[in-house]
């Protein structure tokens, strides 16, 4: 560009003739420093080779799978799972649950279909409440998700639309819950997580809540994730300026043992509270054992024992020492398939979209 300008200015006669294209090119060159700087910046950024930090939703995934809070149940339950096809994956589930202290007996039917691009999942219980999930993987970095809950009563409906974008060293996520096209009410969540170094990622999550009568509220929370260089440990923190802090730590002690700790502190003017939880998970050859202890006096354990590839037995127990209460749960899970071993294929099924 500079050479061209130089050449033209050295010939005075041609100046008037070439002035419109010259103007044009100088207009264009006004942006070229920015384009140059941007391309230099992005190549510098690629040269840092920072890892992708993972999504905000999965920030505490390791801790959640180690702790048994999401897996515990009481009463009796039976899950009959039937695999009808491996590629694409198609399975139906019948689950029965009864004798729980807190919930009435339920029956629910679930169906799942997944291939490399699409995931469809649905669940309906005996009262007719439907919950569903739909996920579309546009590419490895763009994933759209829809989640819905449709109750029999008009008020019990929830829909959530979500899009995930994973860049080279950052993740963006946008979420809309119950949007109304008429008055724009709903909950809007945006989050951004960026790797700062090989082991540290920082992020922000902003929630904008808009009620029907032009009342809007915006809250942000700040996220940090620190990883060990060998992937053996992960520490995360999430802080909300109203005075809520959640910190977690997960450590893989060996191939078979993982331990996790979680601390939640609420220091709002109205309410002050803190809960600490520690837990461990043992992955043995035919079983998984989880044990957990928390500062509210609860001790709980969950054992999943697989007697055969298609039959698993689960025992869960929880004792609340402060309230003098106990819960116990027993479950069976039977997987049956209509496929012969040849049809199932000895090769593992192709990557299902993870969820």
């Amino acid at each position: 560009m500079a050479a061209v300008l130089h050449e033209q200015s050295s010939v005075p006669g041609s100046h008037t003739v070439t002035s419109p294209p010259l103007n044009n090119s100088s207009h264009f060159s006004a942006f070229s420093p920015f384009a140059n700087a941007y391309s230099r910046f992005s190549s510098w950024r690629a040269a840092l080779s920072l890892p992708n930090p993972g999504t905000v939703e999965n920030l505490q995934k390791e801790v959640k799978t180690t702790h048994l809070t999401n897996f515990i149940f009481d009463g009796a339950r039976a899950d009959l799972m039937k695999g009808l096809s491996m590629d694409p994956a198609f399975q139906v589930t019948h689950s029965f649950q009864l004798a729980s202290q807190s919930a009435p007996p339920t029956y629910s039917f679930g169906a799942l279909f997944a291939n490399a691009k699409v995931l469809l999942q649905g669940n309906v219980d005996h009262e007719g409440n439907v919950s569903g999930r739909f996920q579309q993987n546009w590419s490895t970095s763009n994933i759209s998700k829809v989640q819905a809950q449709l109750g029999m009563q008009p008020g019990h409906t929830m829909i959530q639309l979500e899009h995930d974008y994973s860049g080279l060293d950052y993740t963006l996520n946008a979420k809309v819950i119950n949007p109304s096209p008429l008055d724009g009410s709903g909950i809007y969540v945006g989050s951004y997580l960026q790797s700062i170094s090989k082991s540290l990622a920082l992020g922000i999550e902003t929630l904008y809540q808009r009620a029907a009568l032009d009342q809007a509220e915006m809250t942000s929370s700040y996220l940090a994730k620190l990883m060990g260089s060998d992937g053996k440990w992960i520490a995360t923190a999430q802080f909300q300026p109203i005075g809520v802090l959640q910190a977690t730590y997960w450590h893989k002690l060996s191939e078979k043992v993982e331990a996790a700790a979680d601390l939640q502190v609420i220091a709002a003017p109205m309410r002050r509270d803190a809960i600490a939880t520690v837990g461990a998970k043992y992955d043995l050859r035919m079983s998984t054992f989880r044990a957990q202890l928390d500062s509210t006096g609860k001790v709980s354990a969950l054992l999943e024992q697989r007697f055969a590839p298609s039959f698993a037995f689960t025992v869960a127990g929880e004792i609340d020492h402060f309230k003098n209460a106990a819960k116990i749960g027993v479950g069976v899970m039977i997987e049956s398939t209509s496929l012969t071993p040849e049809e199932m294929g000895m090769v593992p099924p192709p990557g299902q979209p993870h969820f």
């Binding site: 009959l80 039937k82 009808l84 096809s85 590629d87 694409p88 198609f90 139906v92 019948h94 039917f109 169906a111 799942l112 279909f113 291939n115 469809l120 999942q121 649905g122 309906v124 439907v130 569903g132 819905a148 449709l150 409906t157 096209p181 008429l182 209509s338 496929l339 049809e343």
Partner: protein, 51 residues
């Protein structure tokens, strides 16, 4: 600002969509799974918990 009539129509359309989704989502998954599965399963195996 949309008129009252448009609002009414949008509300009715959303209601209708919700009803369709409520009753159609599970049958839709079963239909997609049944037609795309390899090999195609028999219908009785699909519905009954015991077969």
């Amino acid at each position: 600002m949309p008129s009252e009539e448009t609002k009414e129509r949008v509300v009715r359309a959303i209601d209708f969509g919700r009803t369709v989704l409520h009753y159609g989502w599970i049958p839709f998954i079963i239909y997609v799974g049944y037609t795309r599965s390899n090999p195609q399963p028999s219908l009785i195996k699909l519905i009954s918990p015991l077969a």
